[in-house]
Amino acid sequence: MKKRSLAAALLVPFAASAQPDPSDWEAVLQEAEGQTVYWNAWGGSTTTNDFIVWVGERVSEDHGVTLEHVKLTDTADAVTRVLSEKQAGTDSDGAIDLIWINGANFAAMKEADLLFGPFAEELPNWAYVDTEGKTVQTDFTVPVEGYESPWAMAQVVFMYDTADIAAPFGSMTEILEWSKANPGRFTYPQPPDFLGTTFLKQALVDLVDEPSVLSQPVEDAPYEEVTAPLWAFLEELTPTLWREGRAYPQTGPAQLQLIADGEVDMAISFSPGEATAAIANYQLPDTVRTFVLDKGTIGNASFVAIPYNSGSAAGAMVVANFLMSPEAQLRAQDPEVLGYGTVLAMDKLPEADRAAFEALDLGIATLSPAELGEVQDEPHPSWMTRIAEDWALRYGTVQ
């Protein structure tokens, strides 16, 4: 008996002191020193993997935090992991300390109270973040409320090979017309892959008359009526797709290989700088350029979130903060590295940093911020779930 109460006494203060306070940054830095942060991030892109390695080196130098990249094939795996741990009662020192996340996965984790925070707006580098021009405080229309911190802006662009396509297209309908005239030259990643569902959403946004309906949850909208143009579009498009729509690339980057092999001429991307980076890595021919649609394309921010049971929340916040630093943002925007859009506001930056951003050559296949044009809002995440389900029913199995 005595033994047990002693153990309990030893355990209680330990559990109580587990969560660091982001408003006391000095204390966070102290606690972070020596911690190992397991960052669960999709591992299918070699350029992103390289960037994460670099981040690891920098936070190790500056703050003594060890960063381990856990390479996922699907971000949902990480969500599942945290859920399983919660069921199993693993409420401290879980397997995951940081997740690259957004959209439905964030909504699910926030809803289920699986996140640590709020912390994002307490981070020192939050001061530089562009809170007005960029969608960093809502994530697919779900309020962020400090439970995840942004580190990259993404916007849909289409990569096309100028050796095969003379001029870019202005709308989804034009893409359809071209695909009909040139069958087998276009495809998109198979939903529920993130980029695949993005293509469906982009098509929906471009095809509906009044996109504002998409900002409500799907339950509150006349779903059949709103999505009818999308399904009609896919009915026409699918037979003209690569492999007649009988097979799809499994991920976004897999499309790059298809373009390089000359199997397809065009592909969707959620990163305006991806084409330039891929050309540098020999993954794309140097004749590839990008375009956006006339009405604009959808965009969102990539975030990092910290699970509620992370044993290294302090270290994770240090990494999250570093990701928002001008140094990391500049590197991420460098097309030779990642080519991701920055989340920072240029007018909030110190002079030297602003000059560095302006001096950056975005590369041959990257559109300038002006050319990227208007960013359209992501539909409410419930749309994505519903559309992906419907797609699976219609196209997901051999008919």
Partner: protein
């Protein structure tokens, strides 16, 4: 202490399988208390049955599984029947040797690039022959029938079954049987099929079952080569296991039971087929027919044998070329430029992953080796050997589909709080490593005693190696012969000289058996290196080995990165074998009696 080792070994090997099946059974019937669900209910089964892809996913488990097993067996039988004992056979055998150690995933990556419409074969004949300056829009990889997947499996199973057959041939006195048959006027193939095949098949039956169970439930090969609308049942199980929607886990568990049932059903079907073939064969023997398309069958066998060798070899060369490639467009047969950029980008990552790979593999194999040596020594001292029933127990972890018990094991480990990290992965690997170490070492070990050597030769030898990764046949073949020639009385002499059992073990038996011990170690390492699903599910993603990294990269389709990882993965499997050959040679360089 030593007395309890066999029991401990069984627990370590079968415990996780039994626990995993239990952990699968509960959620399959709606019981997952962690998620607030208590059963029993049939909801999960209902959900599974309502899934529109079920029939197709099942077909993708059964058809490629049976087809790959059947094709591999037929090719091996034709090659052996038509060519064994010839120089051609020796050459083929030598060419197949290195292929045995190529991990499935690496071979599959290479195969994709080989056979895709934009692949190497297509490039080599374009545009001068085909007129293609763009790849044709043909559905070759990821075809809905699963043919590409079947091809990938066949290319890897042929070397495995051939090795099993070679081991069995030594035990059935093939030459004597063939001489008799030829004297009676039988042609080569017909004579072999009628006189040698029946006893050989009896010995390779269990390995054939392993091939069948494995082919039906394979995940990594199906992810790379298989169709996706829908994928095969096992791949879908893994997808459901990873879905944030918890109810899908119940569906996954239900599907896992379904998968187990399918494998059992297929095994029964195969057994019925065996009976049928035996009956037909019996009638054929009675006809006294001396020849039946012999020349044609010989050439067909050789053609397929060469094809199987060529495909994997070319696939590996393809990986190598991609790992050094600059930009490489269709239809160029070679890259526009070569360079080290890919290696400098991905090389460091592979080194880190290789460290983790060897750590997990080394730990699990060391534990396996200690347990197996303990079993064998205990067996030696007590005079009891493994029975046929015991052999089935050894095979059990290899016959139960991984997708049937690993999900349950993950759920149980999580509930026990023993999740994540290296150690659970080590023990999960142990389940698969132990049988192989046992089977590959038991033979040589028991061959010390001539009476047991008979048992080992008839039961042990054909099952020494596995389909996941294989051993170099010449090591195995030379070992078998060497150990059969050993004098059994070493132990008697050592004991009468006053050496107690422990001293005999450490000073005489172990050093003399250094070569088979190291070979068994290499087999264990190679098995562990090739493990994808246990590492992924039990490691919770934290344990990144070459295989999990390579399969994750495959989803990104970056052939240069895949090339680097595939080559490193192959090297990781080969290295222990190289050491198993080199180390004893160096240590015993002045001991002619131990040269092979």
């Amino acid at each position: 202490m030593l007395r309890h080792v066999p029991l401990l070994t069984l627990v370590v090997m079968l415990g996780p399988v039994a626990a995993g099946l239990w952990g699968t059974l509960l959620p399959a019937f709606g019981h997952l208390p962690g998620a607030g669900l208590t059963g029993p209910s049939l909801n999960a089964m209902q959900d599974l049955l309502n899934w529109p892809g079920l029939v197709q996913a099942m077909r993708l488990s059964i058809v490629p599984g049976l087809l790959a097993t059947l094709l591999s067996l037929v090719i091996v039988v034709l090659v052996t029947a038509g060519w064994s004992g010839t120089r051609t056979f020796g050459l083929l055998q030598r060419a197949l040797a290195p292929i045995l150690s190529v991990p499935h995933a690496a071979a599959a990556f290479g195969l994709v690039f080989l056979i895709a419409p934009s692949g190497w074969i297509s490039r080599l004949v374009s545009p001068w022959l085909t007129g293609w300056d763009r790849p044709p829009d043909l559905l070759i990889v990821q075809d809905p029938a699963g043919l590409a997947m079947t091809l990938g499996l066949v290319a890897k199973e042929v070397p495995f079954l051939l090795l099993m057959t070679l081991a069995a041939l030594g035990q059935v006195r093939q030459e004597q049987r063939m001489k008799t048959a030829r004297n009676l006027g039988y042609d080569r193939v017909t004579g072999w099929l009628k006189t040698v095949f029946p006893p050989v098949y009896r010995q390779i039956r269990l390995p054939v079952y392993v091939v069948l169970a494995y082919s039906m439930s394979v995940v990594d090969v199906a992810l790379i080569l298989g169709p996706t609308r829908p994928p095969s049942l096992s791949v879908q199980i893994v997808k459901w296991m990873g879905d944030p929607d918890l109810t899908l886990r119940l569906t996954a568990a239900a599907a896992a039971l379904w998968q187990l049932g399918l494998v059992v059903l297929a095994l029964l079907l195969w057994r019925v087929g065996e009976g049928l073939v035996a009956a037909l064969g019996g009638r054929w023997i009675e006809t006294g027919q001396r020849r039946c398309l012999d020349q044609g069958l010989r050439l067909t066998g050789l053609g397929f044998g060469v094809l199987a060798t060529g495909v994997v070899t070319l696939a590996l060369v393809g990986l190598l070329v991609w790992s050094f490639a600059g930009f490489w467009s269709f239809p160029s047969a070679l890259p526009d430029s070569f360079g080290l950029r890919n290696w400098s980008r991905h090389g460091p990552g592979t080194v880190a992953a290789m460290g983790e790979t060897f750590l997990v593999a080394g730990l699990s194999t060391l534990i396996a080796l200690a347990l197996v040596l303990g079993c064998l020594e205990s067996e030696h001292r007590s005079g009891r050997t493994v029975t046929t029933r015991g052999l089935w127990l050894l095979y059990l972890p290899l016959l139960v589909p991984q997708t049937a018990f690993l999900p349950g094991l993950q759920i149980l480990l999580l509930q026990a709080g023993a999740d994540v990290g290296r150690l659970p992965v080590v023990f999960a690997h142990l389940v698969f490593v132990l049988p192989y170490v046992f089977l590959s070492l038991g033979d040589a070990w028991r061959a010390w005693d001539p009476r047991n050597a008979v048992v080992a030769a008839t039961l042990g030898a054909p099952v020494v190696f596995a389909h996941l990764v294989f051993v170099l046949p010449y090591v195995f073949l030379s070992l078998g012969d060497a150990w059969r020639a050993w004098d059994p009385r070493n132990a008697v002499v050592a004991a009468t000289l006053g050496a107690p059992p422990a001293r005999v073990f450490w000073r005489v038996r172990l050093p003399m058996l250094l070569r088979p011990v190291l070979t068994a170690f290499a087999v264990g390492m190679a098995v562990s290196v090739g493990q994808y699903l246990p590492t992924l599910l039990i490691g919770g993603g934290r344990v990144a080995t070459l295989t999990t990294e390579a399969v994750a990269l495959a989803s990104g389709g970056d052939r240069r990165a895949i090339g680097v990882y595939g080559i490193m993965q192959t090297l990781a499997a080969l290295l222990p074998f190289a050491l198993a050959i080199i180390v004893p040679t160096v240590i015993w360089r002045n001991r002619r009696g131990l040269h092979v």
